[in-house]
């Protein structure tokens, strides 16, 4: 292809900038505030060139600089004990954190948002979200091994929801399936607060040997800088680029794409190609190109390394020759990587590129000058200290205050409210209530979605949705593996941001422990509204404080994550939605615990106690109520419960386990029955007597730190002894009745599994076909 770079632009050089200090620049259109532009001028000691302005504007954006959240995010690094650090090989700040798994293995994982692109063009937005997070994982030196996708869409019956649903799910499948990465879990929540602003988050996990860990830094004077993968187009620059004015001439720039189109085939080839580079130790440092593209890659590589780099921008291979230098620097074209290669390795590097038919171009080299110098046909158009671009952006202490409506909201309890009238009590009413719950948009089966994802590829998936956590084998010889779960509850967090964020962590932690894995690390995707709204800023500050406090208590560090702000429709923000991912470790995934009942006659135990906690619950959601206080957080109990579940799994005391969360005991009982179509007989009188709750509350309360487990008869004594020794409340509530085809709960009309299954499975097909 003869897409030669258009060199005819009248380029704004550093020399020109010095000579023309008064030239008007489109800093406001590029999203910079006046004080920020003034800061750029101060840093440089002159006005920026067009290209420099482009770099600073994207790198100092909220998305890249975390300027509103940075002061709060510090807590994740500060509230950490030495014990929590011991398995952390790479902490926050790199593309993704890395955790030691033992036996020379390491694991890296991260969750990110791709919310707003997924509203504009759901298929491509969701697809490129997967692509971006997978490249983050590759750039740590890891082989990606699985993905997950927490999704939050508008009301299930809103006409626009189907558009977003079909597009995003097909996009995640279309991209992820083509990469050969099993999709092992996620979430699906419908709520009208996400109508104009769906949340499409994506998680990827990768594994590597310790010696293969790679960092994004450019070290070694004279080493070469190379850009490889897809060509650079006008992606992500926006419909009418203000940088067109950069080329002060008459040539009209061609249009810039409003959305980015992903090429999963190019990404798959890029993965294999990078892994071959790592295997041959052919790259010194590597960085993926995501938001802020070359601006980000060059400034981060340079500032994390020896501090200097020189790059010739006309060497960049282009898809669209009309791009100006600033646009090339800002472009967010997908499926690209930048690497630093020693001169000795150039030939071997090129051989790998040729083998995989990947295009590449050598852009320049590492220097020790402390400056990032970018030239255009030899003329200097960028001359900056890369730290000022990548790390020393503005930081804001945004004002925040507890909203004046928060007290009234918390005082409005569901119990006794108008919506609580006619609470089910009779056996037929309770049976209808259970069926209504498990067929509701948020509690129904998500198999309509998960059937569109490949869960098998790789041959290492030991558990996947709808089990509590996704489980992947890492080492085929020893069975060493990892478990992952993501959780968030926007309703809880809206009622109480501090505790709501902790509840998200507690649930993800519990899910991982329920599968039998030992929780090790946390990644979070903090989806909030505008930080310029003091109410929202308070939600964000409280959520971060809550999350970091809870991580300390649970003893698991945050190793990375992402903040997504300005999620709102008009001036109405989404519910604060901190999505928390917890990673756990198995010494041998053969010991993983599935969520469904197994053998006939096994005892069913409920671990933990039940209080009357219906505020913010799925039941109150079904009745159209949101108010009061979310369930109490008890992290000590979560830890104890976790240890019981992990030990019971390791020692073969339980055959199934399912955590209690949204929908309470009712949802958990139905899900454990439907998992393999195995019935049970349940009696809750002892529980009601012990905890002082009625049958409805026993079934629908969302009290935390609870789980149900299936215990083989031969293990009952040992299991009871363990719980007693640990002083943890446990109660035999029933028995597995394999062939009955019925979930029989005393005081509730019999629930036939066939009918339950039809109700549970029918909801998503009904709305989405």
């Amino acid at each position: 292809m003869s897409l030669e770079t258009n060199r005819k632009f009248n380029i704004d050089t550093v020399e020109n900038a010095e000579k023309t200090p008064d030239t008007e620049l489109p800093w406001a259109e590029l999203g910079l505030k006046k004080n920020e532009f003034d800061e750029v001028v101060k840093v440089l000691g002159r006005r920026p060139t067009g290209a420099e302005l482009a770099m600073y504007s994207v790198m100092w954006s909220e998305h890249c600089s975390y300027k509103s959240s940075k002061n709060h995010l510090r807590q994740f690094g500060e509230k950490v004990t030495e014990e929590m650090k011991k398995d952390m090989l790479v902490g926050i700040g790199e593309n993704a954190g890395v955790t030691n798994l033992g036996d020379g293995w390491a694991v890296t994982f991260k969750i990110e948002s791709h919310n707003s692109p997924s509203f504009v063009e759901p298929y491509q937005g969701a697809a490129t979200g997967i692509g971006g997070i997978v490249r983050d994982i590759i750039s740590m030196g890891a082989r990606p091994v699985a993905v997950m996708d927490p999704l939050r869409f508008g009301a299930i019956d809103h006409p626009d929801t189907a558009r977003v649903m079909h597009g995003a799910v097909a996009g995640i499948g279309g991209y992820g399936n083509s990469l050969g990465l099993p999709n092992i879990g996620g979430e699906m929540v419908f709520d009208s607060v996400y109508q104009g602003n769906p949340l499409v988050n994506a998680l990827a996990v990768g594994v590597m040997r310790h010696e293969d860990i790679r960092l994004a830094n450019a070290s070694g004077k004279g080493n070469k800088v190379v850009l490889f993968g897809a060509r650079t187009g006008g992606d992500g620059i926006g419909g009418a680029s203000v940088l067109a004015s950069e080329s002060f001439d008459d040539t009209k720039p061609s249009k810039r794409p409003a959305v980015q189109v992903g090429d999963p085939f190019a990404e798959k080839v890029l993965i294999e190609c990078c892994l071959e580079l790592f295997k041959g130790s052919l790259v010194e440092g590597i960085q993926d190109l995501g938001a802020a593209g070359i601006s980000c890659a060059t400034s981060e590589l340079a500032s994390n390394g020896d501090g200097g780099m020189e790059v010739e921008l006309t060497s960049v291979l282009l898809r669209d020759p009309s791009l100006t230098p600033g646009e090339i620097l800002m472009s967010e074209s997908q499926e690209r990587m930048m690497a630093v290669v020693t001169p000795e390795n150039i030939e071997a590097f090129e051989a790998v590129m040729d083998k995989w038919a990947v295009e590449y171009s050598w852009l320049g080299e590492v220097t020790d000058s402390g400056r990032l110098i970018i030239t255009w046909d030899g003329a200097v158009i960028v001359d900056v200290d890369p730290r000022t671009v990548a790390h020393d952006g503005p930081v804001y202490d945004r004002p925040y205050a507890r909203p004046d409506w928060q007290d009234a909201l918390q005082a409005d309890s569901f119990t006794g409210s108008v919506q609580d009238a006619g609470r089910p009590a009779a056996p037929a009413q309770l049976a209808a209530a259970v069926t209504e719950l498990i067929s509701s948009p948020n509690m129904c089966s998500k198999s309509w979605i998960t059937k569109q994802y490949d869960r098998y590829v790789g041959g290492n998936t030991a558990l996947a949705f709808p089990d509590d956590a996704g489980v992947i084998r890492v080492d085929e010889e020893t069975g060493l593996g990892v478990a992952l779960a993501t959780d968030a509850n926007g309703r809880y967090t809206f009622l109480d941001p501090y505790h709501g964020a902790q509840l998200a962590l507690a649930e993800a932690y519990r899910n991982v422990a329920t599968s039998g894995a030992v929780p090790m690390a946390v990644s979070d995707c903090l989806n909030f509204g505008s930080p310029e709204d003091p109410d929202v800023m308070w939600q964000l500050a409280e959520a971060i404080r809550g999350l970091s406090d809870a991580c300390m208590v649970l003893g698991i560090p945050v190793t990375g994550g992402n903040v997504s702000l300005y999620n709102q429709t008009g001036s109405t923000p989404i519910h604060p939605s901190p999505v928390v991912a917890v990673l756990g470790k198995f010494d041998d995934v053969a010991r993983r615990t599935p969520s469904g009942w197994q053998e006939d006659g096994q005892a069913i135990y409920l671990l933990g106690t039940t209080a009357a906690e219906l505020d913010g619950s799925e039941w109150s959601n079904l009745r159209g109520h949101l108010g009061g206080l979310p369930p109490k957080v008890d992290l000590a109990a979560e830890r104890e419960l976790g240890e019981i579940l992990i030990n019971a799994s390791r020692d073969g005391m339980i055959d199934s386990a399912h955590d209690l969360s949204e929908g309470g005991l009712a949802a958990a009982l139905v899900e454990s029955s439907l998992r393999y179509g195995v019935g049970a007989r349940i009696a809750l009188q002892d529980l009601m007597d012990r905890d002082g709750v009625d049958l409805f509350t026993a079934l629908f309360s969302e009290t935390q730190a609870r789980a149900i487990v299936g215990v083989p008869r031969s293990e009952e004594v040992r299991f009871n002894d363990m719980c007693t020794a640990r002083g943890f409340m446990h109660l035999r509530i029933g028995v597995v009745d394999a062939d009955s085809g019925i979930l029989d709960i005393n005081g509730v009309e019999d629930l036939a599994l066939d009918a339950l299954n039809e109700a549970h499975e029918g909801t998503l097909p009904k709305y989405f076909g």
Binding site: S2, E121, V259, V261, D263, S333
Partner: protein, 82 residues
């Protein structure tokens, strides 16, 4: 029965992964004269009876609103097949 043909192409500025993969494969079979490939879609809408201006206008509207995704595609041709 008359048919209306609608041709839809990816917008020029948008990446076309399919075209890219095809142009990469052509030279391997000895087809070396083609520097770029872009892959579009062709729709044939059958009409019972005569194609009036009104029906053609409907076809144009359907092409813009449903047959193409205006975010990433252009309708490049709507014509009546004789």
């Amino acid at each position: 029965m008359p048919r209306i043909v609608v041709d839809v192409m990816p917008k020029p500025e948008i990446l076309d992964p399919q075209g890219k993969a095809i142009v990469g494969a052509l030279p391997r079979l000895g087809f070396t004269s083609f520097s770029s490939v872009r892959q579009g879609k062709r729709f044939e809408l059958t009409v019972d009876g005569e194609v009036t201006e009104e029906i053609l206008a409907q076809a144009r509207e359907a092409a813009e609103t449903m047959l193409s995704n205006p975010v990433i595609e252009d309708v490049v041709n709507v014509e009546v097949l004789a």
